[in-house]
């Protein structure tokens, strides 16, 4: 148990880095406020928050997986296959609620498969999920014939386009999912076990954590959150595109790493990831409003990933003051 507690104090509860990120985001808002009159407007902020809600929800699942020492490349394909299955089943006359449940079940099975491949068959996470990702993308093309599926019931678009109390529903869903998972990761036994599994699996095992079970669970969670995001996405477009989610895995990993999640597991938290998503997207939004070419945006995203991973590596090898200060705090 002692080990687990150490992991907890190391991983879940230090907000120094998140403050730096928030200050960075604030500085960007100040800069953009001066540079462009349409950036800091309720309209723009709500537009951006609405469209990042899916990314944020997938990123939350990815964060949980990475904290547990895993990696999930298949999230984008799950995002695509779930609404496609729901739409096709509905198109064939199935009750839509039933179709959705069936599609979510498929997502859960995909998560289970990922989890078993990695926990039981001992696949490298990146390879195991690469395999499911590739196979799934083909399955999507087969079942959709490569064409977008648009057989959805009337009113389906309300999920993404509707508002409650003036707030777009996707934003509310994003906030709810964030709070729920922030709570799970910091305040439940499961959350602590996830940190333990990623931080030091052997020690966690000795301490009585069923790490295989935790590993499988996080992949199921990731798949289900990706499925949920896929449903919101298809509601936004009123169509399920076979290409949906092509870049999602890359985007959410970047956001999670930027948010302080350690690529080797055991460290990270949900608020950090959400801030990571906000930074990535508000910066790209700012670039768009300033008329900066899309090529530069990719260079920017690549650089962010480089800096975040580099920082993580440095932090792990103890090359930064932050680490020392945290040690002092922990000792204190």
């Amino acid at each position: 148990m002692q080990k687990i507690n150490t992991q907890k104090s190391k991983g879940g509860f230090k907000f120094g880095y998140e403050i730096v990120l928030l200050l960075f985001l604030a500085a960007w808002f100040v800069f953009m406020g001066f540079a462009n009159s349409s950036f800091v407007t309720p309209n723009n902020i709500i537009t951006v928050l609405t469209r990042i809600s899916e990314t944020a929800i997938v990123a939350i699942g990815m964060t949980v997986v990475i904290i547990a020492g895993g990696f999930d490349l298949s999230v984008g394909t799950v995002m695509a296959i779930v609404p496609a299955i729901a739409g096709i089943c509905y198109g064939m006359g199935m009750n839509f609620a039933l179709a959705l449940i069936l599609a979510l079940l498929v997502a859960a099975v995909i998560g289970l498969l990922n989890g078993i491949l990695i926990a039981k068959a001992r696949f490298q996470p990146i390879i195991g999920t690469l395999a499911t990702m590739t196979a799934l993308r083909s399955i999507i093309y087969v079942i959709t014939d490569g064409r977008p599926v648009s057989t959805f019931p009337d009113g389906y678009e309300e999920l993404a386009h509707g508002t409650v109390g003036g707030f777009p529903i996707p934003i509310i869903l994003m906030i709810v999912v964030s709070i729920v998972f922030a709570w799970i990761m910091t305040s439940t036994k499961f959350g602590r076990f996830v940190y333990a599994t990623g931080g030091n699996p052997k020690a966690a095992n000795i301490a009585g954590v069923n790490t295989d079970q935790i590993t499988i669970s996080v992949y199921v969670i990731s798949a289900l959150l990706a499925a949920f995001a896929g449903i919101i996405f298809s509601s936004r477009l009123i169509s399920a595109s076979p290409d949906a989610g092509d870049n999602t895995a890359f985007d959410v990993v970047t956001a999670a790493l930027l948010g302080g999640t350690s690529i080797v597991g055991g460290k990270g938290n949900i608020p950090g990831t959400i801030i990571g998503v906000l930074i990535m997207n508000f910066i790209i939004n700012g670039f768009n409003l300033l008329g900066i070419n899309a090529y530069w945006q990719m260079i920017f995203t690549g650089c962010v990933l480089l800096v975040a991973v580099g920082y993580d590596a440095k932090r792990r090898s103890g090359g930064f003051k932050v680490k020392k200060r945290n040690k002092a705090v922990a000792a204190h």
């Binding site: 604030a26 009159s37 407007t41 595109s241």
Partner: protein, 353 residues
Amino acid sequence: MKKVKVFAILALVAVMVFAMFGCSSEAPAESSTPAESSQTAEETQTGSDGEPWKIGIVVKQMGAPYFDYAAEGSKKAAEEMGAEIISYTGPSSEDVNQEITFIEDLITQGADAILVSTADSTAIIPTINKAIEAGVAVFTFDIDAPDSDRLFCITAGDAVESGTAIGESIVEQTGGEGQVALLTGGLGSDTLNQRLDAIEAVLADYPDIEIVATEACDDDFEKCVSQVENLIQTYPDIKAFAGVSTVNPPAAAMAIESAGKTGEIISLGIGLPSQCSEYVDSGTIPELILWDPGVMGYDAAAAAINYLNDGSLPQDGQNFGEYGGEIIVPEGTTVGYIPSIIFTKDNIHDYEF
């Protein structure tokens, strides 16, 4: 440590407040610095001179020369008609979600018109409709989203017009006599079938031209090559092959050259410069029918500017000037087709798509 945290949060709040404040006081300040432009903008909402209309271009893929030419054409139209292209952008690989992001941000930016070539005609619909609702004039080009509220689509390859152009090309290149074979992509395509009909309609006036065969290759390059090889065997006197799908002319040219018939048999039809330029240089393809994406971009921008100026949409036969040409609008539709042009040895290397 607690103090540090409190301080950090206070600092953050201060920055946020400053950001909001800075922005709200910024808005009027900005319109006074570049005074002439921003203020006249307010007047031109109803008037016509002064501040140019702001047009954004969103394509399905950045870096494709085809769209770069289109954007160049749009810029040319904007310059001539006193509008401004405020952005030309698109995803690095086809991704409708990113396209949506760009369109949303153009609405925020206050674009007056957006020209869209979409990667997904269905998924883009809600976003196009949202832009229209926000008062932005949305025109599609190249690839249409016919079920959306977009105002008009400028595209290319009207089946009858391009088929007629191929037919005329055959007549000119063969001197109005000899055996020819027609090549098509797939027999199930309406566009390709209409093109074939248009060719036959032109050739009907030239009794000395004999159509010996019409072969479909299902848009398979290798299959087309072997079909042409067989036809060369079967009809030793054949003078020309004419293809209505972009696969056909380069495949026919390859078969002709490998049969050692360079200079004796020619290949004609619709083709992409990038796939055909070597055969154009060697003379196997004396000329190629296609459209200039620059003209498409030019006409789309011109149509948008006209709409912003007086609310008019393109009419059949409307002339967009020396570069833009005359467009064809089939009756009862909101789709305009730009005219085909002829590529030869002299101009094919100006195009890389």
